[in-house]
Symmetry: C2
């Protein structure tokens, strides 16, 4: 297996995902929230690039079973049903619903990985399911959403722990690019804890706006044993 990690979206050439399975990571908080929603019975999540696009798409789907979700700079968009806090996406709120979701970095990363053979949102909360789901692949790209096109420690740490899981599972050593090797080294030294994420840029930003408790879910490794997959712009439970 070849594992190429990209710490920011611009570092990934469009050709880099040809024939690859793309794992998209935005720990704080888009992929954590998407996994939480689908684990709690949401039918599908539709990521959009902009809030305007989210509003149009939700409108076209009809209001009955659709929720409009998203944040800008961490805060819920005015008039939306939900923000991007995984704690909001409980079973009684999301079960059976379609969620249209716009977030700052996560959605862009999901769209950037769109050309891959498979696109799998990943967070600490479904780490084991993703590792098992990609263990047979030949070429895997780990695309970190980053923060405004800059390196983000929480995403790199998640990528590194995913590589550790794969190394434990595989018979042969995977081939790693420079960023994969760095992520692996970081994960050798650090475990995801709330305290660790609080001093990373993404965690510090949501702590500053009073949403620090989100980090409890963001760091809850293997909270859900589900693989989720994006197909034709909708993310659903794989095999569902």
């Amino acid at each position: 297996m070849r594992i190429d990690t990209f710490f920011t979206i611009p570092e990934m050439d469009p050709g880099a995902v040809d024939g690859a399975t793309v794992v998209v990571i935005d720990v704080v908080r888009a992929t954590t929230t998407i996994i939480e929603a689908l684990a709690n019975g949401a039918r599908a999540v539709y990521p959009t690039d902009t809030t305007e696009e989210a509003v149009r798409l939700a409108h076209s789907m009809g209001p009955e079973d659709t929720l409009l979700c998203g944040e800008r700079r961490g805060h819920k968009v005015e008039g939306f049903d939900l923000g991007n806090s995984p704690r909001e996406f409980t079973r009684d709120v999301v079960e059976g619903k379609k969620l249209v979701m716009s977030t700052t970095n996560g959605t862009r990363a999901l769209r950037a990985g769109d050309e891959g053979v498979r696109v799998l949102p990943c967070a600490f909360t479904n780490l084991g399911a993703v590792a098992r789901g990609i263990a047979e692949e030949g070429h895997v790209v780990l695309l970190c959403a980053g923060q405004d096109d800059r390196f983000s420690l929480d995403d790199a740490l998640c990528a590194g722990h995913l590589i550790h899981r794969l190394v434990e599972m595989l018979d042969a050593e995977p081939e790693l690019n420079d960023a994969s090797r760095a992520a692996y080294a970081v994960a050798s030294a650090r475990k995801p804890t709330r305290r660790f994420l609080e001093v990373a840029a993404g965690g510090a930003a949501i702590l500053a706006i009073g949403l620090g408790d989100d980090l409890v879910i963001c760091t809850d490794v293997d909270r859900h044993d589900i693989l989720v997959e994006m197909r034709e712009k909708a993310i659903t439970r794989a095999g569902a």
Copy 2:
């Protein structure tokens, strides 16, 4: 002290270097070569963005004591006096000379850091001198040249070891951004060895073109006890 690391040039906002001392790192090979040249008696190194600019600048300086140096994709530019292999920059070749130098990533990083209060080229070969030279600063930016605007493990490793040196020297814990913390963790796990650099993208590229022996110098930690500084587009020994 605040230490902000950027793994690629585009990740650094122009405003990020305001009031900061900028340490520019391109281990394989621009900053290693610049330090080697100045340690071996070169009067100054003039980095340029393009080979054309290098030719014009060298011409304007007169051919007497000027050497034209540079590489594209690792190879010496045709018609130039020297490439970018640190082994070429021996005392008998460079002593007393002015060197005009164009390299793929290193020169771009030096120019990008240009707005800093001080700009200090750094490699493993002068790590200790740089650490001592910046230990009193309030805000330090470590700018990794990277490889074609992608993460480069050798530069990140060098940044991480520089942070380790600073942590040992400083009374108070420095404040680190996400990339500084990741670089620190990588350096906790890895020492710079020829073998380690050979499997990083930059090292593998020069190994593939038969210049692998350059990595002996690139990984020779504290080979030279010199601080070098860029001022008005010329790099000289600091204090010289």
